[in-house]
């Protein structure tokens, strides 16, 4: 079984994540095959675009259950951008109703308040609130590349791994046991992003030794 599976969520930036993780020394494969994902040693769950569309696609392809299963096995799991948001309980992305997410991290996905340019696009600083191997060796306040209109608002503050300031402090990374999520795009964040992906590789290696 492959050590790292990037879930084929049919989004545009799969190849970028593949190239960046390979460059950071990981051995990724892109797959939408339930068996391959279930048996993976680690998973990256990417996503860009519409929450509702992505959530429906997960259910349609049966990947929601696959993700639940692989997470329950305790393997390192990293959601990126919309992938992070889909880990949460629900989103207010549709105006008229809330859309259910995977509910692995209790929290709500909210739109940035009016008055700020939206989407939040560009390089912004990430400040970890706790020590975590994902950010090891990265100075607090390192710049990462963001592009999103919604942000994750976790139910419990201890789920927040890092914060970023965009008119107010929002949660830019979350964690709960083996589940990690980052709102920014490490695959497009230059050396800092590659370093973070390399850290994820170290987390995978440590998990394998257990």
């Amino acid at each position: 079984m492959p050590s790292l599976v990037i879930i084929d969520s049919e989004c545009a930036n799969l190849s970028s994540i593949y190239r960046a993780t390979a460059r950071a020394g990981l051995q990724p494969v892109i797959s939408g095959d339930p068996d391959q994902i279930t048996g993976a040693g680690a998973v990256i769950f990417p996503g860009v675009g519409s929450y509702a569309h992505a959530a429906q696609l997960l259910v349609k392809k049966g990947l929601d259950k696959v993700i639940m299963e692989v997470v329950s096995r305790g393997v390192p799991f990293l959601g990126i951008c919309l992938g992070m948001q889909l880990l949460c309980s629900e989103s207010e992305e549709a105006a008229d109703k809330t859309i259910k997410g995977l509910d692995l991290i209790p929290g709500r996905v909210r739109r940035f308040p009016r008055g700020l340019p939206v989407p939040h696009v560009g390089w912004n600083q990430v400040v970890p609130l706790v020590e975590h191997p994902l950010f090891e060796g990265l100075p607090a306040g390192s710049y990462f590349y963001f592009t999103h209109s919604y942000y994750v608002d976790p139910c419990q503050s201890e789920l927040t791994l890092s914060q970023t300031d965009y008119g107010f402090s929002f949660t830019s990374a979350i964690f709960k046991n083996n589940v990690l999520g980052v709102q920014f795009h490490p695959e497009k964040s230059g050396p800092a992003g590659l370093h973070l992906l390399g850290n994820f590789g170290k987390i995978i290696a440590e998990q394998r030794q257990k």
């Binding site: 545009a12 860009v48 939206v118 912004n124 590349y145």
Partner: protein, 267 residues
């Protein structure tokens, strides 16, 4: 704080960089991949390729350029020039582009912006607008007209109205070029920038007219731009990105420093 972005723009024709780059000590300064890697090391926050290939046959070259660049450079990559279908957008994105810049085709068929945003997300779609000040517009109430086909054809459209419509259709950013300022090296058209940044909520990238570092500062402050596109000021070595960033930082603007001191990835 969200950093102000410095974005080098490379004009590419049939897979080669068009405008000369006299100063840079590169093996092949006409190779877009090598030049993109150079600007990446210099601290560029994104790279824009503008494909000005005229022939349809020559257009495949940009796909290869994007693919090779995405293997070498891990920062956002925007591609524009002649993109007129969702299929071509998808092809470019699969090669490793992050954003697609739409111009003439979107003016002909505005729904292309919506189609791209629905399929790939607004963060993928940049509306490029080439605007020229109308001769007969009053100084107190200036108007700008949108041009298509690389600034060759008048469209009769008002630049502000088109910017607002592009946002409504789902564009995630606007790349705004002043045709009056472009090539003058006398500074960006600040009035145009102010008008457009005041009319839309999405980020605006200023383009056209940079001749010295003060011009970039002006565009990012008085003009309200979120990012500045720069071509000749960088290509001809007037200043380096690191100098620009240092200058902007000294004048109180947030910029992403050129990254050093963390585990080295030989980019």
């Amino acid at each position: 704080m969200l950093a102000k972005r410095i974005i080098p723009c490379l004009d590419v024709r049939e897979g080669r960089v068009v405008k000369g780059t006299r100063f840079i000590d590169l093996k092949d300064a006409g190779d877009p991949v090598e030049l993109a890697s150079y600007y990446n090391r210099e601290g560029a926050d994104e790279i824009v390729f503008l494909d000005i290939t005229a022939s349809i046959e020559g257009r495949k070259a940009i796909l290869d350029v994007v693919r090779r660049t995405a293997e070498a450079v891990f920062i956002p990559l925007t591609v524009g020039g002649g993109i007129d279908s969702v299929e071509l957008m998808q092809e470019l994105l699969q090669c490793g582009a992050d954003k697609i810049s739409l111009n003439t085709a979107a003016l002909r068929e505005p729904f292309l912006i919506r189609a791209g945003a629905d399929r790939f997300g607004s963060q993928c779609i940049v509306a490029a607008i080439d605007a020229q000040r109308k001769d007969n517009s009053a100084d107190s109430n200036p108007k700008w007209e949108v041009y298509s086909h690389g600034g060759q054809k008048e469209t009769g459209r008002d630049a502000l109205e088109w910017a607002v419509e592009a946002e409504r259709l789902g564009a995630g950013e606007i790349l705004l070029t002043s045709m009056d300022a472009d090539g003058t090296r006398e500074g960006y058209d600040i009035e145009l920038l102010k008008a457009v940044t005041g009319a839309v909520d999405i980020p605006v990238i200023a383009s056209g007219g940079a001749g010295k570092m003060e011009h970039l500062f002006e565009a990012l402050t008085a003009g309200g731009a979120h990012a500045v596109l720069a071509a000749s000021i960088l290509h001809y070595g007037t200043c380096r990105i690191s100098e620009i960033k240092q200058y902007l930082a000294e004048n109180g603007l947030p910029v992403r420093p050129v990254v050093t001191g963390i585990e080295a990835y030989d980019l």
